[in-house]
């Protein structure tokens, strides 16, 4: 499988995301935000965490309109797989590829700590390596992770089994304890917790590895 990791000015988890894809056996290429096209043969795009464009205007807003942004939107609309972590999740909502918005944490503080998540659905290339209802420990590091969506949108997410992960203890005020959501075609995942930070024992945990392994094996089978 061939993955592309996009780097914006202010991205700071791009190396970690790169390594997590590589560790799962994927070929990975880095793509700078000023590119207007993706390299040929990409199967999945990773949008990393960080503070793209200094969080100016709104988190993820400028990145989502950057030159590579349109290529990412086109890729997703053609049925490509996209994983957005933390700031990457914010970018995906700003692109309109995922519903809802990420707002300031209810407690206003930046929170950086491992949190327990429940795997809500295994029906996606990203989550098929977990068991439904499995509890996993993945770190969060954000000030704007408070997922908000209107009642109608929430009903749709729930009805279509598109909530990927929920917080066991809600750290940021997110609606319905939502930590990650899937697109309607289940090929775009945005999540605030950082699976790329727990893919090998030296990082203090390995609960994120199954996400990258599952994605890689689904691609290999396809």
């Amino acid at each position: 499988m061939k993955a592309a990791v996009i780097t914006f000015p202010g991205s700071n988890c791009d190396r970690d995301l790169f390594d997590a894809f590589a560790k799962a056996g994927d070929e990975v290429v880095k793509v700078w935000h000023k590119e207007t096209e993706l390299p040929a043969g990409i199967d999945v795009i990773g949008i990393p965490g960080g503070f793209s464009f200094g969080d100016y205007l709104r988190c993820g807003a400028i990145a989502s309109r950057s030159p590579i942004g349109q290529a990412v939107v086109d890729f997703a609309q053609r049925g490509g797989y996209v994983l957005g972590v933390c700031n990457g999740f914010q970018v995906l909502t700003e692109m309109g590829l995922l519903p809802g918005a990420l707002m300031r944490n209810a407690g206003l503080k930046f929170i950086s700590k491992p949190v327990a998540l429940t795997v809500t659905t295994t029906d996606s290339a990203f989550t098929s390596g977990y068991d439904k209802g499995q509890e996993i420990l993945i770190p969060i590091a954000h000030a704007e992770g408070n997922y908000q969506i209107d009642a109608e949108g929430l009903k749709q997410l729930q009805g279509e089994d598109r909530v990927a992960f929920r917080y066991v203890e809600n750290p940021n005020g997110a609606t319905d304890d939502i930590a990650g959501v899937l697109s309607a075609n289940r090929r775009v995942l945005g999540m605030m917790p950082h699976p790329e930070r727990v893919v090998e024992p030296a990082q203090g945990g390995t609960d994120g590895a199954a996400l990258f392994r599952a994605l890689s094996s689904v691609m290999a089978a396809a």
């Binding site: 205007l57 709104r58 807003a61 309109r65 909502t93 700003e94 519903p99 809802g100 918005a101 707002m103 300031r104 944490n105 209810a106 407690g107 206003l108 408070n146 908000q148 005020g173």
Partner: protein, 79 residues
């Protein structure tokens, strides 16, 4: 020509920052502040000379970038 855009959270969207400001004002002795909503003002200097065209253009900017219409509303003033 100048344009001024006001961006505010939509009614009903929780504003934790506004709420923190409201609480701080209360601690400082300003009583009776029942709610605070925080937004942004964006000023643009435009080369345009036609008011109607400028307003339409700025509204397009709001829809595409300046506001996130999932959670925010905006108003445009042309001067």
């Amino acid at each position: 020509m100048k344009a001024r855009v006001h961006v505010m959270l939509k009614d009903g969207v929780l504003d934790p920052q506004g709420e923190a400001v409201r609480a701080a004002l209360g601690h400082m002795g300003f009583s009776g502040v029942e709610a605070v909503r925080q937004g942004k003002v964006i000023e643009l200097d435009l080369a345009a000379t036609d008011t109607a065209a400028a307003e339409a253009e700025v509204k397009a900017m709001c829809e595409k970038l300046l506001a996130n219409t999932v959670i925010e509303k905006y108003t445009v003033e042309i001067a």
